[in-house]
Amino acid sequence: MAKEFISNTIRKQRFMNDEMTQQQLADAVSVSRQTIVAMEKDKYSPSLELAFRIAHVFKVPFDEVFQYDAEKDPLWTRKKKRETVQK
């Protein structure tokens, strides 16, 4: 299941890099094109290692490619609920 609290701008970054193809990016970071497709559709969250490699290929800081939204993270919403129940 996709993690809604982690998003990425891979599609935009590819566009900014002379419309780099999914296959070119896949070859650059040694994964299959299907993995790039899954990441672009937010169906797969990559490992930290792969995420850094992708940012390195685009020559941009990590957080320009990958974003984390704590508000949508079920871990914090669960904890908040538990705390309010305890109070």
Binding site: S32, T35, P46, L50
Partner: protein, 148 residues
């Protein structure tokens, strides 16, 4: 549908076919002439061991066949890269298949604890092995489709 999804589906269909054909041949050639053989442990051991190379061989042949058909239809080579996502999907599907086989193993042992005949245990073991491998392929297909 991507190549890996197609390949998983192809493998699933081939493994079902191989199982059905093998079981039918053994049933017709060995069980029909002598039904008492189903309670003979040597019979089960012999044909179970024989099935292992047949299953492995059929998987290799199905992969080669799929690569040839894929090349003819799409004019593309199969990607042989196994990346972190493939490994994760593989691990998750293996975990599912292990749980199913463990459940089947417990059922098989339970049948003996209840004093049932040997063939009940062997059939339960074989069916759970088949079901676990089929569910494993199906889980892979679903995970490739749906993402995780």
């Amino acid at each position: 549908m991507h190549n890996k999804e197609k390949n998983t589906l192809f493998t699933l269909v081939i493994s079902i076919l191989v199982m059905i054909v093998y079981a039918t041949i053994i049933y017709q050639k060995k069980v029909v002439p002598d039904p008492a053989v189903i309670n003979d442990l040597q019979f089960w051991g012999k044909y179970f061991i024989l099935f292992i190379p047949i299953a492995i061989g059929s998987m290799i042949v199905s992969y080669i066949l799929f690569a040839i058909i894929n090349k003819i239809v799409t004019k593309e080579d199969l990607e042989d890269v196994q990346d972190e996502r493939d490994k994760l999907i593989e691990l998750r599907s293996i975990r599912i298949s292990h749980w199913i086989f463990t459940f089947g193993f417990l059922l098989a042992m339970g049948s003996q604890a209840l004093g049932m005949e040997i063939w009940v245990m062997m059939v339960t073991l074989i069916v759970s092995g088949m079901v676990s491998s089929l569910v494993s392929e199906l889980a892979k297909f679903i995970m490739y489709r749906r993402g995780f």
